[in-house]
């Protein structure tokens, strides 16, 4: 089990001022696995995701990827992950395609055709040449999803990815998640609703 796990999170403790937000969270995630992180508002779901990304250093505990602590080789770890925060992380003045060109281009060499294909898959091909400022919240979320797709990372860390998506968008996201996991990818999903996938989903309940 441990040898299979790519992502190992051990005994994470995080304090926010006087508040003990994360009290010894541990998890394992292997190739082809998906973990749903659930819990009430303020339970520390997003904080945990930021710790796992390496954006937030925990007071205690360690995160390792492929057996190496992420602090020891952050560049390799960051190259292997795609993170989508609760904000779509788009520049309002750039078009959807330009946003992807810059964001994905920092992670891997990518041709515009591949970015167009990712936008098409996310159902926003028609928005490619529109500045992000004129897109609706749901469309922006789909462009962010296209970014995650185009990065082709092994590990997806998605914070509330279902927010603002319509029924067909939620359905699409679930299918993409299944495909990612079937292809040997790993995914951590923070969401407060139940994930509707074609398989049982492992859940980690925080704040209980």
């Amino acid at each position: 089990m441990i040898s299979l796990a790519r992502l190992a999170v051990d005994d994470i403790h995080v304090w926010r001022g006087d508040r003990h937000v994360l009290k010894g969270v541990s998890l394992r995630l292997g190739p082809g696995e998906l973990l749903h992180i659930a819990g009430p508002n303020g339970a520390g779901k997003s904080t945990l995701l930021r710790v796992i990304c390496g954006l937030l250093r925990p007071e205690q505990g360690a995160v390792s990827w492929a057996g190496i602590a992420i602090a020891d080789n952050p560049a390799a770890y960051h190259a292997a992950l795609a993170y989508a925060s609760h904000e779509p992380a788009l520049k309002a003045d750039l078009t959807a395609l330009e946003n992807l060109r810059f964001a994905v281009g920092l992670k891997r060499r990518v041709a515009d055709a591949q970015l167009q294909a990712a936008l098409f898959e996310a159902g926003v091909a028609a928005c490619a040449e529109l500045p992000a400022r004129v897109l609706s919240a749901g469309q922006r979320r789909r462009v962010a999803l296209a970014r995650v797709l185009a990065v082709q990372a092994a590990l997806w860390l998605l914070d509330e990815p279902y927010t603002n998506l319509d029924a067909s968008g939620a359905e699409l996201l679930s299918r993409l998640l299944e495909r990612h996991v079937d292809g040997g990818g790993s995914a951590l999903i923070v969401a407060h609703q139940t994930l509707v996938l074609d398989r049982p989903v492992r859940r980690l309940e925080l704040g209980t």
Binding site: C53, G54, A75, Y77, H78, A89, A92, R108
Partner: protein
């Protein structure tokens, strides 16, 4: 398949230049401020050219410093607010290199633009044409150094709601040597003397900040993001 540091920096530089050029109003504001502030002096004191020429270096440099401060707050703030800063940090590229690219882009649209319009201001302040090359060189070195100092300050204050005043309080004391040597270089050039000493000092300050500021600003950003 991986992206080299150089192409990553080029990409960030191109992104920031594209963003600046799409908001020409924000680009123009510090320049207009620079023009207006320097125009206030001849209006309020005296239009007599001998007096103006005496004050010109100080007026020019103080105005340039304040104009540069105006645009500094935006260096990382936009990226921090829309979440793209996190994506930059998680891009797998060295944060220091990204800071270098962003700061250079910022300098190209603020500092270089200020250097280019400085002859206009200099003419209004009765600075002789012979002093223009030294004045422009010193302003170029000075604004680049300011951009590096600003990057540290902006990195430290980007997480604060009203960080721009604090940013000024952090950067202005650090910028005093620039003001002294910059104004001195311009002053000597106006008097027809050699400004080499002051220019060397500006050059070494520029080199010092170029090497250290990206590391300091990257560390500041990491702390801010936590």
């Amino acid at each position: 398949m991986s992206v080299s540091l150089w192409s990553a920096m080029t990409l960030v530089l191109r992104r920031d230049l594209a963003l600046s050029l799409r908001r020409p109003d924000q680009l123009a504001q510090p320049l207009v401020f620079f023009l207006i502030v320097t125009t206030l002096f001849p209006l309020s004191l005296s239009p007599e050219s001998s007096l103006l020429r005496q004050m010109a270096p100080g007026v020019l440099w103080v105005a340039a410093l304040l104009a540069a401060l105006l645009s500094m707050d935006g260096l990382f703030r936009g990226d921090a607010e829309d979440g793209t800063l996190e994506q930059l940090v998680l891009s797998g590229q060295a944060l220091g290199a990204i800071v270098i690219a962003k700061t250079l882009a910022h300098w190209l649209v603020s500092g270089v633009a200020l250097v280019l319009i400085s002859p206009l201001v200099a003419t209004a302040l009765a600075i002789p044409v012979a002093a223009f090359p030294v004045m422009m060189l010193s302003l170029g070195l000075g604004t680049l150094t300011l951009s590096w100092l600003g990057a540290i300050g902006a990195g430290l204050t980007v997480g604060l709601r009203r960080g721009s005043v604090l940013l000024s309080l952090i950067v202005l004391p650090l910028a005093m040597p620039l003001l002294i040597f910059g104004a001195n270089a311009t002053d000597r050039a106006i008097g027809g003397e050699s400004a080499a000493g002051a220019l060397y000092f500006l050059g070494s300050l520029c080199l010092l900040t170029t090497t250290l500021a990206p590391l300091a600003a990257a560390a500041a950003l990491r702390i801010t993001l936590e």
